[in-house]
């Protein structure tokens, strides 16, 4: 993937370098392709940072230790810091990390990979209210219309093209009931 991480949101927990590392990892979990945005474009790192500064604050030490474990794991494979490696080198690190995670569920670096993966999926497919899924790229990818008030019987018929239903967010629904315009 040719894109680069741009820190275009204020951080609430991570430092800028940590954010770059998390973003590089997330970008390999859900990669970008030409014409098809991935975790980076969806703002997954903003989602993760906001979550760690709030609801997931108990995981703050897990992330800090996890970033160290990732650095150590990377050092065992190649020189350089994870987020500064080439795309191919990063992918090789992730491949080995994912394999380790499958092979030895108790390994902490592998656990950290699974945690970041879970949060990457959350940030990619969750409502943009949480800071990710920018431009609704996650929902667009899979064909999920988002936060709908409801669906009609016609829309539920087997031959209905649900791609024609405009995607809505929680914010859109609040504006419908008179708030969050």
């Amino acid at each position: 993937m040719a894109s680069k991480f741009v820190l275009d949101f204020p951080l609430t927990f991570l430092n800028p370098e940590e954010a770059a590392v998390i973003d590089a990892l997330a970008a390999h979990i859900i990669p970008s392709e030409p014409g098809s945005p991935g975790a980076r474009e969806a703002g997954v790192t903003e989602y993760i940072d906001k979550a760690l500064g709030g609801f997931l604050r108990e995981l703050q030490p897990v992330y800090r230790s996890g970033l160290i474990a990732l650095a150590d794991f990377t050092a065992g494979i190649t020189e350089g810091r994870f987020h500064e490696l080439s795309d191919g080198q990063q992918e090789e690190v992730v491949r080995q990390l994912a394999e380790l995670s499958e092979r030895d569920p108790s390994d902490f670096a592998g656990q950290f990979f699974r945690i970041v993966r879970e949060h990457t999926v959350q940030g990619f497919f969750g409502d943009p209210a949480y800071g990710g899924n920018r431009g609704l790229v996650g929902w667009e990818l899979v064909g999920f219309p988002g936060a709908q008030w409801g669906y009609t019987a016609e829309q539920m018929a087997p031959d209905f093209n649900t791609r024609t239903i405009p995607m809505l967010t929680i914010k859109d629904l609040y504006s419908r009931i008179g708030g969050a315009q």
């Binding site: 995981l59 959350q122 497919f125 949480y130 988002g146 409801g150 929680i170 629904l173």
Partner: protein, 577 residues
Amino acid sequence: MSENFDAIIVGMGSTGGILAEQLTKAGLKVLGLDKGQDYTEEDFAIKQDEIRYYQRGAIVAGVNVDPVTWRGSEGETARILPWSAGALGNDEPLYGLPSIGTGGGTLHWGAAAYRFREADFRMKSAIAERFGTQALPEGSTLEDWPISYADLEPYYDRVEYEQGISGLGNTGGVIPPGGNPFEPPRSRDYPMPPVTQGPGDVPFVAATKRLGLHPFRQPLAINSQEYKGRPACVNCGFCHGYPCHVKAKSTTQVTSVPAAKATGNLDLRPLSRVLRINRTADGKRATGVSYLDSTGTYREATADKVILTAYSLENVRLLLLSDINSNGQVGQHFMTHNFGWFTSILPEPTNPFLGTFNASSAVDDFTSELVPDNDLGVLWGSPIISVVGDLQPIEAYHNMDPRTRKWGLDLKHWLRDNYTHMHRMYSQTTNFPYARHYADLDPTVKDRWGQPALRITHDWDDHDANSVILMGRYKEKIAREMGAKDYWMDSPRPPYHLSTHDVGVHRMGEDPATSVTDIYGEVHECEGLYAIGGGGFVSYGGYNPNQTIQALAYFSAEHMLKKMGVNGADMGLVRAS
């Protein structure tokens, strides 16, 4: 100083809401205590949020607040639910304790509203008649129920009409199109037809028919049309695991609790945590409860009746914390459901975000006593249920093909290409009770108030795994008949041991030596103390528990009122609304 009431109800959920309505309408002054909040319409105005409800379990207490521990067998050290308390930061609402607050478990539920079958109440005898008295697995503590289907039928009917159930019933021997030929006898049809069918159910129905099976639309506690002032379902697709934003899903939060409040006789105190049940000095009579109110202040209340409706497991915890277990039966006979999840990728779009989880059909051809003769030793069958709605993308990721690499373009493309073609089936297999499966107090883990956590000792037995495998064979046939491109099945011994369908732990019975309560839920050893809910179940087949739980609630309420000589105990006065 303590306040006095006619009755104290602990837990304003599925059972407690009904008890509250019945007792307050009869004129009793009731104190309702719930550790969750008293939800209003405003709380659920917008709830189409997978992060908040599915990922972060917003309406459950969570194991951080209400720890439960589990171990597979005695000798192991129990840990806080390892399948849900991991560092992933998930507190999925489906494999822990159910939602709390007004409505309780009926806030999050999928609203499957099955009656048990006639044979389910005499499972032990029926198995002995067919397979012999030695057929049950070693150590089973299975018994027949002390009540029959016929005893409960009028109360099932009341649940259907008072709480609002949609479905297609067979009445007078007539099976309507889409009805269930194996349904137990009923006195009248459901009050509403089924909700709008999801598109993913169409191939399931066609395939099961071609296989000679008998698909029927599931009975659901969801309005298909306006009913008792509540509107029809709008098919939002955020239902199972979520509260309802239009009050179309039947939860006691919108049915019985408001009715109880309207009498002026319910003093409902949310965010109040009961610590113990108080009794007379000889222990033979309940006198009230001690609890912490919403400010954390210690309080006591007295009443002639103390009614535990705090979920089977929390009922047990309260009994044990109060040293009420003289016969050693409290917490025994733990039973839960193994879902046997089976996912298929169908050629046609299923659009699994449309409508509710159970906007679909099931087959009862293999349920309970209808289980075919088989080489796996499975003695009791279960329905196979088609699941078509409520599947948002994060949950879809959790359900994805385990053979797919879960990172990179493999992950991304799998979800891109398959999400809108996913179809799921499940069966809830029979879990026999054993002496080795029980709930007790954890010797070391405590909650933040210093009270011991509940500990579950349970593992999947061969019969459980074989049941999942047997039902999996039928699911596989159905998947192939649907033309599934791919399909896969959950482990027959899944990691979870709580299902929000946990029952049996305060068994009802006529013999005070071998059961905890009588058939009405009154605790044998303590007059005036009731434990009502799924904890009273004696056996557990493949249907969802809530319909029977609510039928038992009406059954108990009627008995209490009759016993008190309250006029209108035939419920004529409460039937109208």
